[in-house]
Symmetry: C2
Subunit: 439 residues, 2 copies
C-alpha cells in the first residue's frame, strides 16, 4: 500500500518528499489511512479538522479523536468550528454545500498563513467513480468525465490510486481506529443510490471498475489538455478580441472539422449552455441582429460573424415569444408552449396553463425587475410585488437574480417556475388553453 501510494505520487508529480503538506482529516476511514500513509512515508505535515457541529456530541468526539491522532503523529493540529446549519439557512443552500463552501477557504487560509505547499484530501477511487457516474447521469460534456483530479491547483488527492475496499483492508491490517465518517452518514440521496445500488451491480460485471474509471478520467483529462492546445492555436483564425467584446468568424469556423464543438468550447466560457449553442449554430445564416443571452453575456448575429459582449444591465435580457415558435431556449433552460384540450391536475411550478384569449402574442420573456407585480393565483386577485413574493416563498438570495417572467402587453402572466396570474387563469369562458412548460 505504501509503495502504491508513493508510486502514485511520483507518477502524477503531486509533490516532492520535501513538500509541507496540510492534511484535511475528518476522522473517517479514508482520512485516517491518508494520515497513516503520510506518517509512514515520513512526510512533513499538519492536520486540519472542521467541526461543523452537525451531530452534537458525535461532532465533539470526532474533534477529540483527530486532535489525539495529530498528537500521536507529532503533527500540528488546526481545528475550526463552523455553524454550518445557520450558514446553509442564510444562503438558502444544503448543509452539504455549506460545509463545502466554508471548508475550502479556511484550508487555503491555513496553507498561506502556515506556509504549507499543498492541501491533501482523502478522496479515493470509488469517490471518483461515483462522481463520473453522477455527472453522466445528470448530463455532462467531456469535463464531467474527469471526476476528481489527482491535482487541481494546491489541492492534491494522493489516495486516488486505492479503492474503498483496499483502504478498509489496510486499516484492519494495521489495526487503526477511526470515527464513523459523518460525511458518509450525511451523504446525499443520489450518491447513496450510486454507492449502494448501482456500483455494486456494475462491480459484478467488472470487479476492477474503479481502476477503469480512474484510467478513463486520466485519459479524458489528457485529451482535454490536447483539445485546449488545439483550440488555443485556432483562435488567431477564428476569434478576435477587442476589450470585453469578442468577434467570432463564421466562415473560418465552418472550415474546421467539428465547428459546433469548437463553438461550444468558446461560448461555454461566456455562460451559454450547449442546447443554446446548437440553436446559435443552426441560426448562423439567419437574420442579422438576432440575439441570444446567457446570464452574463449577449451574443448578436452580425454579418459573417457573432459579436459577444458582457450584459451591462439585466434589463437588456429579453426574448420575444412568437406563438408559432412553440419553444424558446434561454439562459435558464427551455420554455415550450402548446395548445391543450384541458388542464391536468398535476401540481408542477414549472408548468402553467394560461388563457390564450387573454394573451397577446408576441409575449416577452425577461428577468423580473424591481417594481414588477402580479396577482398570484390563489390570492383572490390581490396584487403582490414580485420582490415580496420571492421573500415569502423563501427563494435563496443567490437565485433571485435568475427568475424570469412571461409578460403580455406589460402584464405579468407567469412568474416562471413559481406562480401564474389570476388575470390569465383558465376559466369557463376560455376557448383556447396554452400549456407553458419550463424544462
Amino acid at each position: 500500500m505504501l509503495n502504491a501510494f508513493l508510486t502514485f505520487i511520483t507518477e502524477h508529480q503531486l509533490f516532492t518528499p520535501a513538500s509541507r503538506l496540510l492534511l484535511t482529516v475528518s476522522g473517517g476511514i479514508d482520512s485516517v489511512v491518508l494520515t497513516e500513509l503520510c506518517r509512514q512515508a515520513g512526510f512533513t505535515f499538519g492536520i486540519a479538522h472542521c467541526n461543523f457541529q452537525l451531530r452534537g456530541d458525535d461532532s465533539e468526539a470526532d474533534e477529540a479523536f483527530v486532535r489525539a491522532l495529530a498528537h500521536r503523529c507529532g503533527a500540528e493540529c488546526y481545528v475550526r468550528r463552523f455553524d454550518a446549519k445557520t450558514f446553509a439557512k442564510n444562503e438558502g443552500i444544503s448543509t452539504q454545500m455549506a460545509a463545502r463552501e466554508l471548508r475550502y477557504p479556511w484550508f487555503e487560509e491555513l496553507r498561506q498563513v502556515h506556509r504549507y505547499d499543498y492541501i491533501l484530501t482523502a478522496h479515493q477511487q470509488d469517490d471518483l467513480l461515483e462522481t463520473i457516474l453522477m455527472n453522466i447521469t445528470r448530463g455532462t460534456g467531456l469535463a464531467g468525465l474527469y471526476g476528481i483530479l489527482p491535482k487541481n491547483g494546491f489541492i492534491v488527492r494522493p489516495l486516488l490510486f486505492a479503492t474503498r475496499t483496499e483502504i478498509s483492508t489496510f486499516l484492519t491490517q494495521r489495526r487503526l481506529t477511526w470515527r464513523e465518517d459523518s460525511s458518509n452518514a450525511s451523504v446525499d440521496y443520489v450518491r447513496n443510490r450510486l454507492r449502494h445500488d448501482v456500483i455494486p451491480t456494475l462491480r459484478t460485471i467488472n470487479p476492477n471498475i474503479s481502476a477503469a474509471a480512474a484510467r478513463l478520467s486520466e485519459r479524458v483529462k489528457a485529451s482535454e489538455t490536447l483539445l485546449s492546445a488545439y483550440t488555443k492555436g485556432l483562435e488567431a483564425e477564428i476569434l478576435q478580441t477587442d476589450g470585453a467584446t469578442h468577434r467570432l468568424f463564421i466562415a473560418a469556423l465552418e472550415k474546421q472539422a467539428a465547428p459546433l464543438e469548437l463553438l461550444a468550447r468558446w461560448l461555454s466560457d461566456f455562460g451559454f449552455h450547449y442546447h443554446q449553442i446548437k440553436k446559435i449554430w443552426t441560426a448562423r445564416n439567419g437574420q442579422t441582429g438576432q440575439r441570444f443571452f446567457s446570464s452574463t453575456h449577449i451574443l448578436t448575429l452580425d454579418r459573417g460573424g457573432w459579436l459577444v459582449h458582457p450584459v451591462q444591465k439585466p434589463t437588456e435580457i429579453s426574448y420575444t415569444l412568437e406563438e408559432k415558435d412553440r419553444e424558446i431556449v434561454y439562459s435558464e433552460g427551455c420554455l415550450q408552449w402548446v395548445e391543450v384540450e384541458k388542464l391536468s391536475s398535476e401540481k408542477n411550478p414549472n408548468v402553467a396553463y394560461l388563457d390564450a384569449d387573454a394573451l397577446a402574442f408576441p409575449l416577452t420573456l425577461r428577468l423580473w425587475q424591481p417594481g414588477d407585480w402580479l396577482c398570484p393565483l390563489g390570492m383572490q386577485g390581490k396584487r403582490k410585488k414580485i420582490s415580496d413574493f420571492l421573500v415569502d416563498v423563501k427563494v435563496p438570495r443567490s437565485l433571485k437574480g435568475q427568475v424570469y417572467v412571461v409578460e403580455s402587453e406589460g402584464n405579468i402572466a407567469w412568474l416562471v417556475g413559481f406562480r401564474g396570474d389570476e388575470r390569465f387563469k383558465v376559466n369557463e369562458k376560455t376557448t383556447k388553453i396554452l400549456k407553458f412548460t419550463k424544462t
Copy 2:
C-alpha cells in the same frame, strides 16, 4: 414523433428524402416503429430480415410477420436463413456474436446488389445509454463513450432520438402489432443487468438520462474529430514513416501538452494497449534496444526515438522475465509473480503456483509454437503436444495464435491461462513457491 424523426435525420444529415433505404427489421418493437415512421415519411425502402433459426416455430412466425409487414408497406422483402448455432460453434464464439458477424455482410451485399444508399438499423437512445455504461464498466477510452453513432459509413440509426418508452407509446397509440423481440429475450447477462437494474435506478435521479447520454455521445464524437485533426497536424513533427516502419521522435513528443495521450493515440493503431504504452513512455530514457510487442508490431527503443515495425514471424515475440521485476506487461495483459507461503485452493486458470527451485531465471514468455509440448498437470506426467492440448480444451481457432507459454531452460512450465506442468509442480520438497497471475 414523425416530426422529431425528420428533424433528427436533417440535423445529423443521415440521408435525403430521395435516398433508397434498406431497413433491417427483426419484427420487434423498435424495428416495427422504424418501418412505420419511414412509411409515414414517404421514404423509398426495402426490408431485410435475418432468420437465425434460434427459436424454432417462433423464428418462422417472426419471418412471416416481417413478410406481411413488408407487403402492407409495398416494400421489397429480403429474407435469409442462417444457421447461427453451427457457425457460432465452429468459430468458438457466442451465438449473439455469430448473429452479428453473419448479419452485416449480408446487409452490405444487399445494399450493393439492389443499389440502396443506406442500411437503417432500429437502435434507440436506451441502446446507446446501455452501450456507454457497458463500455465504462469494462474500461474504455474516449472512443467507448460514443456508444452508437447516428451514422457510421453506410449504416444509419435514425431512431437514436427516441427512448424505449417513447417508441412503445407511439406503438400503442398507432395500435401497431409486433413480435416479442427475439434479440431482447436473448440479450446477454451484462446488458440485462444494465437494462433492468442499473438504468432504472439512474432514471430516478434523472428521467432524461437517455437524452443526456445521446448528447454526451455527440460531444465526445465531435471532440474526437477535433483530436484527430490535431494529431494529424502534429505528425509531420513527431512521426516519420518509411514503408511499414515508423519512427517516433521522443524530444518532439515531450514538447507537447499531453505527450502520453498523443503516444497512446498513435500506438493503439499498432495494437499496443494503454497499460503497455504507459510502460513504453516511462522507459523512454532507458536502455537502447529495449523491445515491446503487440500482437502485430514490435516497438524498439532507439537513440532519441522509437522504431515501430510489423512482426514478421510470431516467434520474434519474446519477453525476458527477471525474478526481481515481479511483473511484465505484454500484448495479452499483465503477468505478475510473487513468492507465497502456500497454495490457495481456488481453481483459476490464470493463476499458476510453480516450484521456484525447479525454475531457472531469467524465464522466457513467448507465443507457443508448433512442436511445443508439456506434461500437463493431472495427466500422470505424460507428454502432450500443445497443438493437441488446445484442440482438446476447445480453444477457438481465432484465439489459438494468442496463447503464451512461460519457459525455463527450454522446458514449458506454464501454458498461460490453461495448465501448469508436472515438472514444475509444488511438492513436499519445494522450499520456495512462486505464484504467477495473469491479469
